[in-house]
């Protein structure tokens, strides 16, 4: 129903304003695996576009969003990128899954249309294809791991345990952690896996308890299995601290793991004490009546970065927008205090490697920042 309504809206607005609006395409995921991340990010995009339009728009025109749903499927995604370009968008914002974003690049590269993802974390997005029309401003997977380990090093850890699940991403993150432990001379005393669909994580946690680590690293990304791990941790009454991948920055844990997450630290790209964040939260609450999550910030920053580039380009000429985008120097909602997005030395990944933070759960809420960057 909602998709239909949006479609009708898109069609209507298309005919009414097509002369005076700046069209920006958004490719999101409304039903697939990435939906829990893509939906809040898209809400952030819509809110930001409204804010820009309320303040007089861009180059004297209003922004018009054309939103498409690719279900996180790369095959559909490329076709949607083509459709948006045919409808005359000057920029495409990609907020579904990394592989889908990658597939869209084959179209934007050929059509020479600027494209950006404000939240995808896959390192390969700007390295596999030499596509001068594409940028990535979400924190890279490698930066997330490095930040968590820098925090661990600051604690002077010698013996740690690792636990993950048997999903592709969980295995990949665990592998990155293992490599980093080895490099830093940290001994891995237990290395456990909880399978998708398990009904308990008791044996794994017992084994970790027996190995007596100074801390446990969590690399799993499956919510239900992670909750099993926290439950076994609580039931066994163990005390070693848990350090988690960015997966715990997804706010779902505040409700589904009630009473289990207090004190767990996790990597995030969001500092609730940052002035830009406070302003964003207040404005979002006033505009929509709802509290935004960190995920909304990715979408918000995405459209603000695009608007900033178009403003500096001073026209809708795509080559001028491309040049302006490459020269970005912008402070947004995401990132540690004082972080600015920019693309150094012709690179197209714009999140500062020292811009991530480590936060801690306070009771059931995602709380304050306890560590910044990876130094």
């Amino acid at each position: 129903m909602r998709v239909l309504a949006l479609l009708a809206f898109a069609l209507l607005t298309n005919s009414a304003f097509s002369q005076d609006t700046i069209k920006i395409g958004v490719i999101t995921d409304r039903v697939g695996v990435s939906k829990p991340y893509s939906e809040p990010a898209t809400e952030g995009v819509i809110f930001a576009a409204d804010e820009i339009n309320r303040r007089g728009g861009l180059l004297g025109r209003k922004i018009e969003l054309l939103i498409e749903d690719d279900q996180s499927r790369p095959d559909i995604s490329a076709a949607l990128a083509r459709k948006l370009i045919d409808q005359g968008v000057v920029f495409i914002l990609s907020v579904s899954l990394s592989p889908a974003t990658q597939q869209q690049q084959t179209v934007t590269m050929e059509a020479k249309v600027p494209q950006m993802t404000p939240m995808n974390s896959a390192d390969y997005l700007t390295t596999q294809l030499d596509n001068p029309w594409f940028w990535q401003t979400g924190p890279l997977g490698s930066v997330q791991g490095a930040t968590l380990l820098a925090h661990a090093r600051s604690k002077n850890l010698k013996r740690v345990a690792l636990i993950t699940d048997n999903s592709d991403l969980g295995q990949a993150i665990a592998k990155a952690f293992r490599g980093a432990f080895e490099k830093s001379g940290i001994q891995l005393v237990a290395d456990e896996v909880v399978a998708r669909g398990a009904t308990t994580a008791m044996p794994q946690m017992q084994k970790i308890r027996a190995a007596d680590p100074e801390a446990m690293f969590l690399a799993g990304v499956l919510t239900a299995e992670n909750v099993l791990i926290f439950r076994a941790y609580k039931e066994l009454g163990v005390r070693f601290p848990i350090h988690s991948s960015y997966n715990l920055s997804v706010p779902i844990y505040e409700t589904v793991a009630k009473g289990l997450v207090d004190g767990i630290t996790f990597v995030d790209a969001y500092d609730p004490d940052k002035p830009e964040v406070k302003a964003f939260v207040a404005a979002y609450k006033k505009g929509t009546g709802k509290d935004p999550q960190n995920l909304h910030g990715y979408g918000y920053d995405g459209i603000m970065l695009v608007a900033d580039a178009i403003r500096r380009a001073g026209s809708l000429d795509k080559e001028k927008i491309r040049e302006a985008m490459q020269k970005t120097n912008y402070a947004g909602v995401m990132g540690a205090k004082g972080m600015r997005y920019h693309f150094p030395e012709g690179k197209r990944a714009g999140f500062d490697p020292n811009g991530m933070v480590v936060r801690v759960y306070e009771k059931d809420r995602q709380g304050r920042v306890v560590y910044v960057g990876q130094k």
Partner: protein
């Protein structure tokens, strides 16, 4: 030793859930010969029932549980009416209803996935979290005792056994085959739903939870044998102990421990394909 006792309790509770799913298979296989892989999705329905009744409407646990069981009986009964009976009445081969039930599996999962948010949904514990394992064990033991008494001591139970032993002879003796089949599906759905409801506070309700449960229950069924009710529970317990003891004590890397129960299952199929407990003649 304390470790071992903790683990034994945890494995028993997991084994009880596997046993309930195995029992759901068994209730339908015995009288009809139909393997219904949709039991995993039925367990998922039970878990989502727990979310709706206990988390959204905050009903008292016994009321919520009764409503969910009643709903599951209805689901099983309707499934038999819609997906199984028309095929059987037209004399289709045994494979036809099994395939139709796989269709039911897909429809159930997709219906849930579009009706609920994609994240796992919380289902509350009826008792203190530390005591929940004992609660699961107690409920399961009561269910198995009930079914055992039903099959051993009641006339209706004897009817089921008679149909299981020889459909044609049972029909000739005046047993209503259609009613036995309908009841076996209703009972199977209720037991699977109960399994899902019991496991839900631990694993949360989410739309992908059905398939792993269907596989674990099926493995338990193969180990225990399709012949007797106790076999399902025994199979479930053996599977859970094999899983959890391997992960805890076997000196192999974490990732490989998952495969051990499957090796165990293969050995079983080779050495004793009828399962541990054979049916009584």
């Amino acid at each position: 030793l304390q470790d071992f006792i903790e683990l034994a309790v945890s494995a028993t509770a997991s084994g009880c859930v596997y046993g309930l799913i195995a029992l759901a298979y068994l209730l339908m296989i015995r009288p009809t010969g139909i393997i219904n892989f949709a039991v995993g999705e039925w367990a998922m329905l039970g878990a989502f029932g727990g979310y709706v009744a206990l988390t959204q409407y905050e009903l008292p646990y016994p009321v919520g549980m009764a409503l969910i069981l009643a709903f599951m009986l209805l689901v099983g009964w309707v499934t038999e009416r819609v997906a199984v009976r028309p095929l059987v009445e037209r004399g289709a081969a045994l494979l036809a209803p099994i395939l139709a039930l796989l269709g039911v599996l897909v429809i159930t999962r997709e219906a849930i996935s579009v009706s609920f948010p994609p994240d796992p949904l919380p289902v509350p514990f009826p008792v203190e979290i530390q005591n929940y394992k004992y609660f699961v064990i107690a409920v399961t033991v009561a269910v198995f005792a009930g079914f055992w008494l039903f099959f051993e001591k009641t006339l209706w139970g004897k009817c089921f056994e008679a149909v299981a032993l020889n459909r044609r002879a049972a029909a000739l003796m005046g047993i209503n085959l259609a009613r036995v089949t309908a009841l076996s599906f209703a009972g199977g759905a209720a037991v699977a739903g109960l399994g899902g409801l019991l496991v839900a506070p631990n694993v949360s309700a989410h739309y992908l939870m059905g398939v792993p449960l269907a596989i674990q229950g099926f493995t338990a069924l193969v180990i225990g044998g399709v012949g007797r009710v106790e076999g399902a529970l025994l199979g479930g317990l053996l599977l859970a102990f094999a899983e959890q003891l391997t992960i805890r004590y076997a000196p192999i890397p974490g990732g490989f421990a998952q495969g051990v129960p499957l090796v165990f299952l293969m050995l079983f199929l080779v050495v004793r394909p009828t399962g541990l407990l054979a049916a009584r003649a």
